[in-house]
């Protein structure tokens, strides 16, 4: 096992070199790189030990518990990334993740292995990949919507005053936010195979998997991530928009 850890040494030497080179002029940046590298290393090693134990059990309830844990963490991440104050943001993120990601992860897992789809070995990596990739889109989408709403509140008020429904008066910002959230995903899909080989496929290729099998699995994953991101942003934005108005239809604040 020690040999495996020693394999990380050259990479860590690179990180230290970067840190020491930049630390005088760009202290914050250099510290952030170092901190992120430490966190990645520690978190992934701990995850590996945890997964080793979890995978031995093959218990479905562990899958479910870990899925809930990861989803709650993803929702907390959305709150910490958000600069705008949104009422009930944690619950909004949680519900949108559950409604958008869970069904996709379950279906994807069933597609790969019908008999063992609920086992931790199958489900957890898929939930992790889907949540990790959609998180960014949801954060960007909510932030874009709130910035537009704050800056153009008078426009919303004018449209409402003319007789537009609350949905109609914010539709433009809703569409922009949806686009802003999904654009990084679309860009990534367009560059796939031409500019980039994604991590999951690269890992399989390095492990001598059949390239076509690796490609098919990667395509499925990319489409699932795209669907999950879109659905998750859409659901989250619906709730965020609803939170800006009172049940009787007035704006929550002027």
């Amino acid at each position: 096992m020690m040999g495996k850890f020693l394999g990380l040494l050259p990479y860590w030497l690179g990180i230290f070199a970067v840190h020491f080179y930049f630390r005088n002029k760009y202290k914050t940046f250099a510290n952030e790189v170092l901190w992120a590298s430490v966190r990645t290393t520690v978190q992934l090693i701990l995850l590996a030990f945890a997964l080793q134990e979890i995978f031995k059990t093959q218990l479905v309830w562990i899958s479910l518990f870990a899925t809930i844990f990861m989803t709650v963490n993803a929702s907390s991440q959305i709150i910490s990334r958000s600069k705008s104050k949104v009422l009930h943001l944690f619950w909004i993120s949680l519900v949108s993740n559950i409604l958008a990601i869970w069904p996709l992860a379950f279906l994807f897992s069933m597609d790969i292995s019908q008999s063992t789809w609920a086992e931790p070995r199958m489900l957890l990596p898929l939930v992790g990949m889907l949540l990790g990739n959609t998180l960014n889109g949801v954060s960007i989408g909510i932030e874009s919507f709130m910035i537009n709403f704050r800056e153009k509140k008078n426009e919303v008020l004018t449209l409402m005053a003319l007789g537009a429904t609350n949905d109609e008066s914010t539709q433009k910002f809703f569409n922009r936010a949806l686009k802003a959230g999904i654009t990084p995903q679309i860009n990534s899909m367009i560059s796939m195979g031409i500019i980039s080989i994604p991590g999951m496929m690269a890992g399989q290729l390095i492990a001598f998997a059949n390239p076509l099998d690796a490609s098919i699995l990667q395509i499925k994953m990319m489409l699932a991530i795209c669907l999950g991101t879109l659905l998750s942003i859409f659901i989250a934005l619906r709730f965020v928009r609803k939170s800006l108005f009172l049940p009787s239809g007035e704006l929550c604040s002027t």
């Binding site: 153009k152 426009e155 004018t158 409402m160 003319l162 007789g163 239809g249 002027t254």
Partner: protein, 196 residues
């Protein structure tokens, strides 16, 4: 008939008022007293603390918010518009809403505009204010709530706008005006209503 009973605004001011078709109310009061807040509360853009607003004997809560707002149409002093829209697009924008899909306007504001293709960005604040009033008149509201809607309009255009509004209110309409211009004697047979 509009009947405002013990309406308590968010700033805790309590208002009682009755308005009949053809009435023009000039809302007065010092800055910050809540004149705009009163109009926005009437239009159900902001919540009230308590009290009733009845229109034609029906309480405001019996109307869907967008239906109520189309009947009591509020115009803010700052005219906002979609960036890049022409005058024509600005005037037509409300007709994209579900509410006005099958609505045939009795008043056509385009008859009073020389260049419909001008960009809204290029118009002065006064021209935009005049357009927003013309657009509001085309939507067949029962009550217009004008919040400093003449502040940037020059005297000539203002006279013309007043004259159009005067004809509009004769169709059994009610107008509320918040303005620092003291024009009630020359233009409208209006009732002053002072918020303290």
């Amino acid at each position: 008939m509009l009947d405002v009973k013990d309406l308590k605004l968010l700033n805790s001011k309590i208002i009682n008022l009755k308005a009949a078709p053809g009435d023009v109310f000039l809302i007065k009061g010092p800055n910050g007293v809540g004149k705009s807040l009163f109009l926005k509360t009437l239009a159900r853009l902001v919540p009230k603390i308590s009290g009733e607003i009845n229109l034609g004997g029906l309480d405001s809560s019996q109307f869907a918010p967008e239906l109520w707002r189309s009947k009591l149409l509020y115009l803010p002093s700052d005219v906002s518009f979609t960036e890049g829209h022409s005058v024509d697009e600005y005037l037509s924008e409300p007709f994209l809403f579900e509410r006005y899909k099958y609505f045939k306007p009795s008043f056509n504001p385009k008859e009073y505009i020389s260049d419909l293709n001008s960009s809204m960005n290029l118009l002065s604040s006064g021209q935009r204010q005049r357009l927003s009033i013309l657009r509001a008149m085309s939507l067949n509201a029962e009550i217009l709530l004008l919040d400093e809607s003449f502040s940037h309009i020059d005297p000539v255009l203002r006279e013309e706008t007043f004259s159009l509004l005067n004809r509009w209110k004769d169709h059994q309409k009610i107008i509320f005006i918040v303005s620092h211009f003291d024009f009630q004697t020359s233009q409208f047979d209006s009732t002053s209503f002072t918020l303290k």
